[in-house]
């Protein structure tokens, strides 16, 4: 199987430059941060001082599900940043250094190369998100309150679709430009634009993938999957497919030129 060979090469590369180690570890650290800081908030305020003697501060503990949503927001800022920076050179860097030519001089289809790259990056991101959210879920259950494992899986699957969309955007810009800096800049710009526009027009663009987290929060509160969430997920999946096809086409014309 040719695809498997390319995919294995991708994973070997990621293991050699420790992507398989550091990305999951950073996601775990990000996931643990919110339950811990929520739990220790009174102590943290205490040690900061500055409160007058005898002042009592009542900070209501957020519901356990909300803490997981806080972790997701954390992934949505720093996690997305790491995903973009990690994947910025995956094709563009190889074209710069000439490795892509070494691979493509053999009878490898462009779509094989692109899809193997995509699957390789997505694998790392999915495992990292799973471990990060799992540690957040574990600490939330330990320190704050129970969240069902089924709800954790729902959060992981739905939010994973959004991160997959980010990875696909990054891959698409990878085929367009040779400079990793340009790739990361454009990917971040698109992601920020999607989030900003859908937050401003949240009443009109209810199906926007950028509103995944508010929809997930509603899902936890109501206990059922809202229709907007399905819409956002379908739109994301459709965009992923279109971008993958577009990447292959762009890559083909760029390589021929």
């Amino acid at each position: 199987m040719q695809w498997l060979t390319i995919f294995k090469r991708e994973n070997l590369e990621a293991a050699r430059n420790f992507k398989w180690v550091w990305v999951p570890l950073v996601f775990i650290i990000l996931g643990v941060t919110d339950p811990l800081s929520t739990y220790y908030l009174p102590e943290i305020l205490d040690s900061m001082g500055g409160l007058p003697e005898g002042a009592t501060v009542d900070i209501p503990t957020p519901p356990p599900g909300e803490v997981l949503i806080m972790s997701l927001s954390q992934f949505n800022m720093l996690g997305v940043l790491i995903v973009v920076l990690m994947s910025m050179g995956t094709i563009s860097g190889e074209r710069k250094s000439g490795v892509a030519e070494l691979v493509l001089v053999k009878p490898v289809h462009y779509h094989t190369y692109i899809s193997a790259k995509w699957a390789g990056t997505l694998g790392i991101v999915a495992v990292s998100l799973f471990l990060g959210l799992l540690s957040s879920w574990y600490y939330t259950n330990l320190l704050i309150g129970d969240v069902a494992f089924g709800q954790f899986m729902q959060l992981f699957l739905f939010y994973g679709v959004w991160l997959a969309l980010v990875v696909t955007f990054s891959l698409f810009f990878n085929t367009l430009f040779r400079s990793p800096g340009m790739v990361s800049f454009l990917t971040l710009a698109v992601v920020i634009l999607i989030s900003m526009v859908s937050n401003v027009l949240s009443h009109i663009l209810t199906w926007s993938p950028g509103l995944m987290i508010p929809h997930l929060s509603t899902m936890l509160a109501e206990g059922s999957v809202p229709g907007e969430l399905w819409a956002a997920t379908s739109i994301s999946l459709a965009t992923i497919v279109i971008l993958l096809i577009a990447s292959t086409l762009v890559f083909r014309t760029k390589e021929m030129a």
């Binding site: 430059n17 420790f18 550091w22 570890l25 950073v26 650290i29 643990v32 102590e43 205490d46 250094s97």
Partner: protein
């Protein structure tokens, strides 16, 4: 303050942070060329938590991406 913190809860976080630093240092020792002097990266990885190793992995290495 320290009595109120249960170390069983914090310990895994410290261990993960240590692994991250060690992996970054191993990677640094295997790389021939870095952006900027190597000793500076050693300091950055050791002193700045989480962000130090991440910065090294993203922008520290030259060539092998």
């Amino acid at each position: 303050m320290f009595e109120t913190i249960e170390w069983g809860i914090i310990a895994p976080l410290i261990v993960i942070e240590l692994i991250l630093k060690i992996v970054a240092l191993i990677s640094l020792s295997r790389t021939n060329t870095t952006y900027g002097p190597k000793w500076l990266w050693i300091l950055i990885i050791l002193i700045i938590n989480t962000i130090g190793p991440v910065a090294y992995f993203i922008v520290g290495r030259r060539g092998d991406g």
